[in-house]
Symmetry: C2
Subunit: 211 residues, 2 copies
């Protein structure tokens, strides 16, 4: 079996190994065992466990469905809904485990691994910018109120998503996702308020959905 194959096997196996043992708890032996490759082959392909983790992270991000955010055939908010729904499906299919590899790795090693921290920063930024682009379009077409700057909304929504996946690991139910959808799509990304036309005036009318 040629080198590319050993490399791919290591990258493929890394995600599961790091999820079970944590980055710090996973040994090179754990990684080569899971990949079914000789232990001695590891350093032919990666200078360090950190290098492998970053390559596995690139592969993870590449398949986490960021491209749907750029699908101009769909309305902006629909892209965002599908993006988080697809990510949630992956989590749910795994029994609410695993969370987001970017978030989990950041939580564990951003403080101790400077090269990784810089890479996490780039990935978070790239992801936030893609979300902000969608929100900006939704604000421009009037489907989302323009009161808050899109980049602030986008960063907050992504941070909230990370916390949502941690909570999901703990409670193993749909509740964190349902809370996220309710708060993000019905409140933070609500349409612009319009004059009340349907709702009859009440003594203390408040927070009535309009338009």
């Amino acid at each position: 079996m040629g080198r590319p194959s050993v490399r791919h096997k290591l990258v493929d196996a890394a995600l599961d190994v790091f999820e079970v043992h944590g980055f710090n708890g996973a040994s090179v032996q754990d990684l080569t065992d899971a990949a079914g490759v000789p232990k001695g082959s590891f350093y032919n392909h990666f200078d360090s466990k950190e290098k492998l983790a970053l390559e596995a992270l690139q592969a993870y991000i590449a398949r986490n469905g960021i491209e749907v955010l750029h699908d101009e055939k769909l309305a902006p908010l629909e892209r965002l809904r599908r993006h988080f729904r697809a990510n949630w499906k992956t989590v749910k299919d795994r029994g609410y485990r695993s969370g987001c590899f970017l978030g989990a790795l950041s939580s564990e090693i951003a403080d101790s691994h400077e090269t990784s921290r810089a890479e996490f920063g780039r990935l978070f930024h790239h992801w936030s910018v893609a979300i902000a682009g969608v929100i900006r379009q939704a604000q421009a077409d009037g489907s989302v109120a323009a009161a808050t700057e899109a980049p602030v909304l986008a960063r907050f929504v992504l941070n909230a998503w990370q916390g949502t996946l941690i909570r999901a690991k703990v409670v193993r139910s749909d509740q964190p996702y349902e809370d996220f959808v309710a708060m993000v799509f019905a409140t933070l990304l609500a349409p612009p308020a319009a004059p009340a036309v349907a709702a009859p005036a009440k003594k203390v009318p408040r927070a009535v959905r309009q338009k």
Copy 2:
């Protein structure tokens, strides 16, 4: 030195050790070395590394300022602001490192340690209930719109906080906290909409505060 002191030293040292090495990466030797106690003394006090982690977590939660949420001398939203501000100060004072021990430990071991997962669930629930109590009071006194159920808001805000602290580890700046404050206090916990009196009517009025 008596047993209680060894135990306390281990609990005190545990937080820093787990933050640097992760739960899985920290050995009993790392923990006893950091505590300055004999390695052999560990199992006189704790059945496992997990037991020590859970006791360190209890100590962490006890000092993370949940009591301010119950301080009836302060307005409800002021309690919530102070709660997160105090937690943020701890993070900032540590160079934006460390995050939340509950979140970090949940992220790393909720999938693999069932006893811990149950305990994380109780702590998240307890914390959310305290936040929901504050929000409910703020909704009752009219300082927060009552459109969203307090428990949903509270869970989401706490999840968003967890993600905010992960992002802070990565970017090492005030931005995640500023985003959190802007979105939580100015938007999610905004006062009930009041009739537009100052803003002149525009062609496409939107995001106008109403009551």
